[in-house]
């Protein structure tokens, strides 16, 4: 049994402690917004926040989250609201297939939380662990700049 918070809700999960957070969240809790891409922390599709920091949930055992807070794409913004990045993603029409976008947005959210006004190089560095096979990178970066700008001017 592993006890943790997922999107602010306390869960006691009857899973083996080695189970990656990815599969606990998807198969056990039923939140499928977090995606499986590679299983080896090489693509970023599974990115979630652990106590506010971006981690690759496919290689992080659920035991590492015991007593801590996991945030997934479903919990990035309060129910019925959207995070500035989600609004920017829509404004810039970023997604194509969309499969990687939960991970992209979670990585970007951790970036702008730590670095509210990231330079282009900081964006590239923070986002290069997230693969998008549709090649939406140009729009991902413009949406991050937009969200950072709009947050700063809010």
């Amino acid at each position: 049994m592993v006890a943790l918070y997922i999107n602010g809700v306390h869960h006691e999960l009857d899973v083996s402690p080695e189970m990656p957070i990815l599969w606990a969240v998807r198969d056990v809790v039923g939140l499928t917004g977090t995606k499986f891409g590679c299983g080896v922390a090489a693509c970023g599709a599974c990115t979630v926040h652990l106590d506010g920091k971006a981690i690759r949930s496919c290689v992080t055992p659920v035991s590492a989250a015991a007593g801590r807070h996991v945030t997934t794409i479903e919990g990035l913004a309060p129910e019925g609201k959207e995070h500035p990045l989600q609004a920017a993603w829509v404004e810039d029409q970023v997604p194509q297939c969309g499969y990687c976008q939960s991970g992209q947005i979670m990585s970007a959210a951790a970036l702008i939380k730590k670095t509210p006004n990231p330079s282009d190089k900081e964006i590239e560095a923070a986002m290069s662990g997230n693969i998008c096979r549709c090649g939406c990178y140009e729009r991902i970066n413009s949406a991050i700049r937009r969200a950072a700008h709009e947050t700063a001017n809010a």
């Binding site: 977090t34 499986f36 297939c97 590239e124 998008c132 096979r133 991902i140």
Partner: protein, 713 residues
């Protein structure tokens, strides 16, 4: 199933689908209408107007468009809704869509079944969708006119409302739905002239975007069916190998593992969750019979491909290449096998019951998926329902539905619904690969430097031979010559040859198949010819494009917008390339520098002509993405084989494009009134030759081999 689905069947289907999915998936808006997060058709309320297979209009004003093509990122769902809503004169805000079931109503005229590929969706479906929308509109108008006892010709329809101006009467489409159902379906309803389009060619925000930024869009891998278990299949490391025997003792000891057994594609492990299945997958010990491909080696295959050039058969001949003399250039190009590697790993969910089968799959081939399930279960088509989910990328990989077979076979064996999820390593090692190829090209320039003869030989495994056997005739795979023999260049004497390498490696279609290789050869060679003729590469090409004005126009537009020929910053150079795909024309200029053996692309400019544009921003989006896909293919990616086994395993050794490596792409969308043509793949072929042509300017080295990282090593 024979003949066409009638309306009763259609409604029965959609009703059942809605009910089925409501159990498993939440409908966030609490609506019974089609759910954009899942692509499920929703329930069919009473009084709904369903004049044809493509559109339904509900009393609550909701317009549901049935999308017969797979939404894999190309924006086809939004495009189809836009086309139909324009002719229907419905506000786009009222439009929803649902993914169509595998059914004869939705068979594509080109493929003869339900397939999404070849950049054919918009060109093939544009007229049926317009006719469906216009017909529905005419029936709504007729219903209103009948209610008001006026001549339908005196009524107008716009923005989802029918108006009779003389009496100031109005009625919304929703209020007319029930009455419109009683109107006889008219034939040959006139379509709008383009000047009356209200949505086509305008900016319409993609309808799927809101669900793709909050985690709610449901892909195949997100399918949840009550009572479902999870599975993984251990496959032969050598193509065509089979299970000799296996030991599942360790696998079965893992907590959550339900069963381990052999199926046709390997050894299946079934568990309570994906993680347990994956652990069991790694714990099964399988002894394989490697079969005839145990010694396949890509180095040897490449040598064989070079040797096969001389044996190629003539596929197309224009004039006589031996009749002219002058300066002759010969070049040979090499490209490797490649894996598609879409972000969503292969997966499928199946529920095989005595009374029928349901399949949920991220697939580009609904009919083939259905046929696979029919073959395994022995059930007829009307007992096999295929639910298409969102696809986490396709790129041609999902033109094969091998993963559907896994799920159906396992579900049949265990009598429960099952979701099969492939590890990424299997996606890389068990793909239907972009074929390795050798292109041998010869050109002859006359004394004035004009190209008077061109010979082009392609050696590559035939994809058509397996995927569309009737196309492969007399040893010629016509698809394997795309990007070569459909050249826009007017050359008096041309000779195109092909030979199927028959390597034993499974091969498939990959974004702009064949053209993504052959265009590399043709467009690098064009630069070589221009250089030999002491001519500017753009001027040299334009001189050969007098009979292809659309090709000439995109070339000029790209060159102009990019400032081709201008002085570049130190260490940077521009390369240009032209390409054709899906009936469309594209030209790309790349600004390139070198970082050791790595090519750095600073920016690209691409001009595209895809005929009538449905959605300009989706055209830009697809072009940007297709260019990046082509860059990923050319920069450092390769699949190699040793001892019949693929050497690459995952994203750390099969390299793809990452954020820092992706250039911005400025897209010029050419205005056109020609019929729409494809845009999902056009951007992929020209990037590699454009880079190679820039590299020549940088260091004088002709790149005739991909990936660049190998060619520059």
């Amino acid at each position: 199933m024979s003949g066409t689905l009638n309306r009763t069947d259609f409604l029965a289907y959609t009703g059942r689908l809605g009910a089925g999915l409501c159990i498993a998936l939440s409908l966030p808006l609490g609506t019974k209408a089609a759910d954009l997060a899942t692509g499920a058709a929703g329930t069919t309320p009473a009084g709904e107007f369903a004049p044809n297979a493509w559109v339904r209009i509900a009393p609550d004003e909701t317009v549901t468009v049935m999308v017969s093509k797979s939404e894999m990122g190309q924006g086809i769902a939004t495009g189809f809704c836009t086309i139909l809503a324009d002719e229907l004169d419905a506000p786009i805000a009222n439009v929803r869509y649902a993914f169509a079931p595998a059914s004869p109503e939705y068979v594509d005229a080109f493929f003869g079944d339900m397939t999404t590929g070849g950049s054919t969706s918009t060109p093939d479906s544009w007229m049926p969708l317009r006719q469906a929308g216009a017909t529905a509109r005419a029936m709504l108008v007729a219903a209103a006119a009948k209610q008001w006892s006026v001549d339908p010709a005196t009524c107008t329809a716009a923005n989802g409302v029918v108006t009779h101006a003389a009496s100031s009467k109005t009625a919304t489409y929703g209020s007319l739905a029930s009455a419109a159902s009683q109107i006889a379906v008219p034939k040959d309803v006139p379509l709008k002239t383009p000047d009356r389009f209200t949505l086509i060619g305008k900016h319409v925000a993609r309808l799927d975007t809101p669900f793709k930024v909050n985690g709610k869009a449901k892909y195949g891998i997100d399918t949840v069916v009550p009572g479902m278990v999870h599975a993984s299949v251990v496959r032969s490391p050598v193509f065509g190998g089979s299970v000799s025997h296996f030991d599942a003792t360790k696998a079965k000891a893992i907590n959550g593992v339900i069963d381990v057994f052999a199926i046709s594609s390997g050894v299946a492990v079934v568990a309570k969750n994906t993680w347990a299945a994956r652990q069991a997958h790694d714990a099964v010990h399988v002894a394989w019979n490697d079969g005839p491909n145990a010694h396949v080696n890509s180095k040897v295959l490449l040598e064989q491909a070079h040797a096969l050039v001389a044996t190629a058969k003539v596929a197309k001949k224009v004039g006589d290449v031996t009749s002219v003399h002058g300066t002759t250039l010969k070049s040979t190009f090499e490209t490797p096998f490649l894996a598609h590697a879409p972000m969503e790993p292969m997966n499928a969910t199946a529920d095989v019951r005595a009374d029928g089968v349901e399949v949920w799959a991220p697939t580009q081939v609904q009919t083939r998926s259905q046929q696979i399930a029919m073959a395994i279960t022995g059930l007829p088509a009307n007992k096999v329902q295929v639910h298409t989910t969102y696809l986490g990328g396709g790129f041609g990989r999902r033109l094969d539905a091998d993963y559907v077979g896994d799920a159906v076979e396992i579900s049949k064996k265990i009598g429960k619904p099952v979701k099969v999820t492939w590890p990424r390593e299997q996606d890389i090692q068990h793909d239907f690969y972009r074929p390795m190829s050798v292109n041998a090209v010869t050109g002859t320039l006359d004394a004035s430097g004009n190209l008077v003869a061109l010979s082009h030989t392609v050696v590559a495994d035939s994809v058509a031979k397996r995927w569309a056997p009737p196309l492969f005739k007399d040893g010629i795979d016509p698809l394997a010559l795309d990007g070569a023999w459909n050249t826009p260049y007017d050359v008096a004497n041309m000779d195109y040859r092909y030979v199927d390498q028959n390597s034993g490696v499974p091969v498939g279609f990959m974004r702009a198949p064949a053209a993504n290789v052959n265009t590399f050869a043709t467009e690098v060679f064009m630069d070589e010819l221009a250089h030999a003729a002491h001519k500017d590469p753009v001027a040299f090409r334009l001189a050969l494009l007098s009979k292809a004005p659309r090709a000439a126009a995109v070339l000029q537009a790209a060159a102009k917008a990019a400032g081709y020929g201008k002085k570049m910053p130190a260490g940077q150079a521009q390369g240009i390339a032209l390409c054709l795909w899906g009936g469309s024309y594209g030209a790309l200029v790349a600004d390139v520098s070198l970082n050791g053996t790595d090519v750095v692309v600073h920016r690209t400019v691409m001009a595209v002509d895809c005929g009538t544009v449905i959605n300009p921003d989706i055209v830009r989006m697809q072009t940007q993405g297709a260019v990046n896909y082509g860059l990923a293919m050319a920069r450092s990616a390769k699949i190699t084989l040793a001892n019949g086994r693929v050497s690459q395993t995952n994203f750390y050794d099969y390299t793809v494009l990452r954020n820092a490596d992706a250039p911005p792409t400025h897209v010029i969308v050419m205005p056109s009134t020609e019929k729409p043509s494809g845009i999902g793949e056009l951007g992929t072929p020209p990037i590699a030759p454009a880079i190679a042509n820039a590299v020549f300017k940088l260091n004088g080295k002709r790149i005739r081999k991909l990936p660049f990282s190998d060619a520059l090593a």
